[in-house]
């Protein structure tokens, strides 16, 4: 019983991950600006990278195989998911910061508090 629930929960997470990847790639075409595309990239990385790995871990735990097999596969998936969850925000933060500081792309925004503070020195 619990095995079946784990297996289908994992398969469901894998399916959600695939859908999220497709939506993220559509978002890359729809958004025109570097910074807004970063948000689509986050959807692809967390929804399409982190959750499918959790799904693999859960689905393997529900399979009818040896315990060492379950331990190796779900352990590796969980550790990789943790590394993704820690590495992705560092990567997108450093991309955004370096592009902003080098003025490679000017953001199309309705308000830019960082530029105000960097150049004006005033605060409100």
């Amino acid at each position: 019983m619990i095995d079946t629930i784990l297996f289908y929960l994992g398969i469901g997470l894998l399916f959600i991950g695939g859908v999220m990847d497709i939506i993220a790639s559509i978002g890359f075409f729809k958004f025109k600006d570097f910074y807004t595309r970063l948000h689509a990239a986050t959807v692809g990385a967390i929804g399409g990278g982190f959750y499918p790995l959790l799904g693999v871990a859960l689905a393997v735990m529900g399979l009818d195989v040896d315990l060492w097999f379950k331990a190796v596969f779900s352990g590796v998936s969980l550790i990789t998911a943790a590394i993704i969850a820690l590495g992705v925000p560092a990567g997108s933060h450093i991309l955004a910061r370096s592009v902003y500081r080098s003025r490679e792309v000017e953001p199309t925004v309705i308000a830019d508090r960082l530029r105000e503070d960097l150049e004006g020195g005033g605060s409100n």
Binding site: M20, I23, A24, I26, G27, K30, F31, D33, Y35, T36, L38, H39, A40, T42, V43, I46, G47, F50, W68, A71, V72, G75, V76, I79, A85, L86, V88, P89, A90, S92, H93, A96, R97, Y100, P107, T108, V109, I110, A111, D112, R113, L114, R115, D117
Partner: protein
């Protein structure tokens, strides 16, 4: 850093090593324990400045926060961005907003920034550690006032994380 913490850290590292190699002979276990002990002794003083803060309560709070974060908060944030992508002609107002924070330890700042960046729709562009501001690119800015932005974007992270790391 006490001996108990070193032992726990060594065992966790050895467990990760054994899971990755996938074989559980005596030699592998010995290598795992020795490598884990070495890494623990090397990094413990840098990673843990104040051993008094290590406790079971804080750890269980962290587990609870992670469970809540990766189910409810991420689902809501994903749904917001997916709606923007799939709805034809959806209008959005990107802005770089300023969010004040009131925590002091490095772990808290990094965890809050990671939580903000990991939710689709908000990316931390810059951090001002002297004035205690995050500068966040927000894809659909409904308000530009600092305190209201903080209430919408980062207050839940800050409340939970300050209980874990402060």
């Amino acid at each position: 850093m006490g001996r108990a913490s070193i032992a726990v850290f060594t065992l966790i590292l050895a467990l990760i090593y054994l899971i990755y190699t996938g074989s559980y002979g005596v030699l592998e276990v010995m290598i795992a324990l020795i490598a884990g002990l070495g890494v623990a002794l090397l990094l413990a003083t840098d990673l843990v400045r104040d051993p008094g803060k290590l406790s079971i309560t804080r750890f269980s709070r962290a587990v609870g926060y992670l469970l809540k974060y990766f189910t409810i908060i991420e689902a809501q944030a994903h749904w917001g961005v997916v709606k923007l992508i799939l709805k034809p002609g959806a209008s959005y107002k990107p802005a770089i907003v300023r969010i004040p924070y009131e925590v002091s330890s490095e772990y808290s700042i990094v965890s809050i920034a990671n939580s903000i960046t990991n939710t689709p729709g908000t990316v931390v562009v810059d951090v001002d550690e002297d004035k205690k501001f995050f500068y966040v690119h927000w894809i659909n800015a409904t308000t530009l006032k600092d305190q209201e932005v903080r209430r919408i974007v980062s207050e839940v992270f800050e409340k939970e994380i300050s209980k874990i790391f402060e």
